[in-house]
């Protein structure tokens, strides 16, 4: 900026006192340091226009300057008190949070800072969560188990609750990365990967299996042993049970969180003796009912 006070205020040499005052005020409203709290150069720029105004607003000084008797130097004011040097301090009771009160919800990290009067509690940050995978077999998932999971820095015992399912995520509170600033540690999120079982399959809380039965068991009925995840039970097969019949074993399925259990469904599979049986063949050749056609009427 030029040293010329007229140029600093942006007025001509023939400007009236009112012109000078108006020009100065317009600039000062922009450049006053207290109206530019974050701008360190505002003080210097404001000093320059203030000095120009001080010189040109004094008729005698202006005349001497115009005649070349004095220059523009020596007009600087002493350093002023500035509100911006005090405003916003912890003791400033005028500073208001109303301009950003809408930022701060109670559960918002920012709300720690956006509270008037500056509660200066250190920021507490929860540690981040870690992820892991645990492979377990079918019965471990159904019956529950405890397994040790290796982590980069140590191991953790993972309690798999009864009735867990493939893809389920277990949250182990506080087993994640350590917190910061006194904040709590994060959680460990363990995804379960459940291997299939050779005989059981699962449908929600129910367990399905194929139950082989002999011809006499199917025709005459009888008690047969059925495996369940919690051990074998005896099941009554009613007389005349067909292959493919589904028999329910109540309460022998997957444990639920409320303590109840799903059911087990056994689908009967009719199985002939492994070796050809001459007596059975003879019997069937003489069996009056052998003319029954189960496909009749199916088109």
């Amino acid at each position: 900026m030029s040293d010329d006070p007229y140029a600093r205020l942006g007025v001509g040499r023939d400007a009236s006192a009112d012109d000078i005052k108006r020009a100065y005020r317009k600039l000062a409203r922009k450049l006053h340091p207290d109206l530019n709290p974050g701008d360190k150069t505002a003080e210097e720029r404001f000093k320059q226009i203030s000095a120009a105004h001080d010189l040109l607003s004094d008729a005698e000084k202006r005349a001497r300057f115009d005649r070349g008797e004095i220059d523009a130097s020596g007009q600087e004011r002493p350093t002023q008190r500035r509100w911006r040097d005090h405003a916003g301090s912890a003791r400033d009771s005028y500073a208001s949070d109303s301009g950003f009160a809408d930022f701060a919800d109670d559960d918002d990290v920012l709300s720690e800072f956006f509270s008037r009067g500056g509660r200066r509690a250190g920021m507490r940050v929860k540690g981040h969560d870690l992820a892991g995978e645990l492979r377990i077999d079918f019965l471990e998932a159904v019956n529950g188990t405890t397994r040790r999971l290796g982590l980069p820095d140590g191991a953790v015992d993972v309690v798999v609750p009864p009735g867990s399912a493939d893809g389920q995520v277990l949250r182990l509170r506080g087993k994640g990365a350590p917190g910061w600033g006194g904040g709590p540690p994060g959680d460990l999120l363990v995804t379960l990967s459940v291997a299939p079982h050779p005989r059981f399959t699962r449908e929600g809380d129910d367990i399905l299996l194929d139950l082989p039965v002999s011809i006499p068991e199917a025709v005459l009925g009888g008690k047969v042993e059925v495996p369940t995840p919690a051990g074998a039970v005896m099941l009554s097969v009613p007389p005349g049970s067909n292959a493919g019949s589904r028999l329910r074993v109540r309460g022998r399925g997957v444990p639920r969180a409320d303590g109840s259990r799903g059911d087990l469904y056994a689908t009967l599979a009719l199985v002939l003796p492994e070796q050809p049986d001459a007596a059975l063949e003879d019997f069937l050749r003489g069996w009056a009912g052998r003319g029954y056609d189960p496909r009749k009427g199916r088109g």
């Binding site: 409203r29 405003a87 500073a95 250190g122 940050v125 910061w180």
Partner: protein, 100 residues
């Protein structure tokens, strides 16, 4: 020294002192310290030097007080951010650059 004396020394007449207190521009019970004198100097500059009228001072002070409240909150947040572990800080800065 009594509060009133200090304010009067700052060139603030009694009538204006009362008027400014009534406007809420300065506090009735605020300690008469450098900060308070600086605030008075600002109001004087606005009214006398910059030709801002009463309504304009009201608007300017309201906005300035909000601005300083925000600057204070930002400074506090910055101080806490500076204490973050370097990887977390870096992640925050990168997220800010991406505009997340």
């Amino acid at each position: 020294m009594p509060r009133r004396t200090i304010f009067l020394q700052a060139g603030l007449g009694e009538a204006r002192l009362e008027a400014w207190v009534a406007e809420g521009w300065i506090g009735r019970d605020t300690a008469p310290d450098e900060a308070e004198l600086a605030r008075i100097a600002l109001i004087q500059a606005l009214t006398e030097e910059l030709g801002v009228n009463e309504a304009g001072v009201d608007v300017a002070l309201g906005l300035l007080d909000q601005l300083h409240g925000l600057r204070r909150a930002l400074r506090q947040m910055q101080a806490e951010l500076d204490r973050l572990p370097p990887p977390l800080r870096t992640a925050l800065i990168e997220a800010a650059r991406r505009g997340d």
